[in-house]
């Protein structure tokens, strides 16, 4: 074991292991300058008036749409679950469509066409002092059965007109 060859090979193995494991670790920074998404999207009362099936595109820059579903209000992620392209809302078809590989999602975020394997993620929505807050740090995934979570949607009564 203590021959020159033994010491040499041991050192090489150890060094190699440390290098292979360590260099990827050095690639990942400990701090990034990316903002955390915590957005106040307005009064809940205002959203209660909105008609069913409305898609609010004001917050696309922050990475979500506010969609009024029959059961309530959800914040749908704008990035395709296939490969993260930015989706476009096509109001004629009533679909969120991906320009990269042709996936399509319905109003509730369920994947209908194309290669997308799972529904759109829903961002956490909470109500504080009558204002709706969207929190991008917590996301609910339908295929994992997380859409039943109370914070995946702000429950609303069906609006008067429907």
């Amino acid at each position: 074991m203590l021959t020159a060859a033994g010491v040499g090979w041991t050192a090489l193995t150890l060094g190699g292991t440390v290098g292979v494991l360590g260099v990827p670790r050095l690639l990942a920074p400990n701090v990034t300058a990316e903002p955390e998404v915590l957005v106040d999207i307005g009064e809940l009362a205002g959203y209660a008036q909105v008609s069913l099936g409305t898609v609010d595109e004001r917050f696309k820059r922050q990475g979500f749409w506010v969609v009024r579903l029959p059961e309530g209000l959800v914040a749908l992620s704008t990035s395709c679950t296939h490969l993260g392209c930015l989706l476009n809302w096509d109001d004629r078809d009533g679909r969120f469509k991906c320009p990269c590989h042709g996936s399509g999602f319905d109003l509730a975020g369920v994947n209908r066409e194309g290669p997308a394997p799972r529904p759109l993620e829903r961002l956490r929505v909470t109500v504080e002092d009558g204002r709706v807050i969207v929190d991008g740090r917590r996301r609910f995934r339908g295929e994992r059965g997380e859409w039943g979570h109370s914070e995946s949607m702000v429950r609303l009564e069906p609006s008067a007109e429907s």
Binding site: L86, D90, P117
Partner: protein, 372 residues
């Protein structure tokens, strides 16, 4: 006059109908098989000139259409056109040379390239040839750069996206495959299989003949598999992705104008849902805590199908049609070869399932992000 317009319109419509990837792929596959079968006939200069003339005539005619011209004549597409032209030329030259050598071999003569003792000096023969090639290439590049500006799109913006958003042309083939496969397969596994398969070639192809000269008769399997992969699974998806995919990555015929509002394509279903006829359970999701076996049971049809495809078929083939091949290659090489070949075959097979039956995934273990 009316009759003429009618003919042109029906030609356009016919081409649009033909341009569906399923039909294009079939036509090209038949063309490739025929081209390899009758390679001694069509590669003769007279026939090849005729083919080239026909091709140019079709291209010129098609180029008269403003819609198609608008799609094709974009700066980045010039490279694709150049590649297609060069590829046609090199495939023709390669097969022509192969035909010459195979004829010689049948007459008992050595190949055209033979003559190991016939040597020439590097200086001046090779050095000046290289110099000329280099100057010609530089001249071509400078002229290209003078004539065509490098495109620049609007500045990067996270709020909007080009529609359609296409990858650089040499990756469009991969992007087109991504339509049919889950990212972990199309983006990771398939490229790795391609690279590994290419690297493994010299270790799998143990045929001692056909080394160092063009030939088809002495290595028919190797050449046809390689050309099929290169042309049908790599070049063709690039052409389809570039010229036939429009906004929202929807299919358009070559003469159909792109329109961002098109009807949604057919809804896709997973194979398990087709078998069990239920979709609601899948939508609700089993949840991460659900028993491990439930999704597996649900996806059993696809798993059995893939198992049959990857395990049983190579085994059956090794007992029947490919018995000789297996004996020549040995078990290990045959195993690697069959896995690679089946992996390659999975691509058109999955495409067919999508086109004919609207299948999204054969195995959809979405709970574990494992879809095939």
């Amino acid at each position: 006059m009316i009759a003429e317009a009618w003919t042109i319109d029906s030609l356009r419509e016919g081409s649009n109908w033909l341009a569906h990837p399923a039909r294009v792929m079939t036509i090209c596959a038949i063309g490739l098989v025929a081209g390899l079968w009758w390679y001694r006939v069509w590669t003769r200069p007279r026939w090849a000139a005729l083919l080239l003339g026909g091709l140019l005539a079709v291209v010129t005619l098609a180029g008269l259409d403003p819609v198609l011209r608008d799609k094709v004549c974009r700066p980045d597409n010039l490279a694709i056109l150049l590649l297609v032209l060069l590829l046609c030329f090199f495939v023709w030259r390669g097969l022509r040379q192969a035909a010459v050598n195979d004829d010689r071999a049948e007459r008992g003569e050595p190949p055209f390239e033979a003559g190991a003792d016939d040597k020439v000096l590097t200086w001046p023969h090779l050095v000046f040839l290289e110099l000329v090639a280099l100057v010609a290439c530089s001249a071509f590049l400078v002229i290209w750069s003078l004539l065509v500006r490098a495109p620049l799109e609007p500045p990067a913006d996270l709020e909007t996206v080009l529609n359609p958003a296409k990858a650089p042309w040499y990756f469009v083939g991969l992007q087109e495959l991504l339509v049919y496969f889950d990212p972990w397969l199309a983006g990771v596994v398939l490229p790795v299989v391609m690279v590994v398969g290419l690297s493994a070639l010299p270790y799998l192809d143990r045929n001692p003949r056909g080394s160092g000269y063009y030939t088809l008769r002495e290595r028919p399997l190797a050449v046809s598999v390689f050309l099929a992969a290169f042309i049908l699974l790599w070049m063709l998806p690039i052409l389809v992705g570039t010229f036939l995919r429009g906004p929202n990555w929807t299919l358009y015929g070559p003469f159909e104008p792109w329109d961002p509002h098109t009807e949604s394509p057919a809804e896709l279903v997973n194979l398990s849902a087709m078998v069990w006829g239920e979709r609601s359970e899948m939508e609700a999701g089993f949840g991460a805590e659900a028993a491990l076996w439930r999704p597996v049971v649900r996806e059993l049809p696809g798993i059995v199908l893939l198992g049959f495809y990857f395990l049983v078929m190579p085994w059956v083939l090794s007992r029947t049609a490919w018995r000789g091949l297996r004996e020549r290659m040995g078990s290990v090489r045959y195993l690697v070869f069959s896995v690679l070949l089946m992996g390659m075959g999975l691509v058109p097979a999955k495409m067919l399932l999508r086109w004919l039956l609207d299948v999204r995934y054969i195995v959809a273990l979405t709970e574990w992000s494992l879809n095939i």
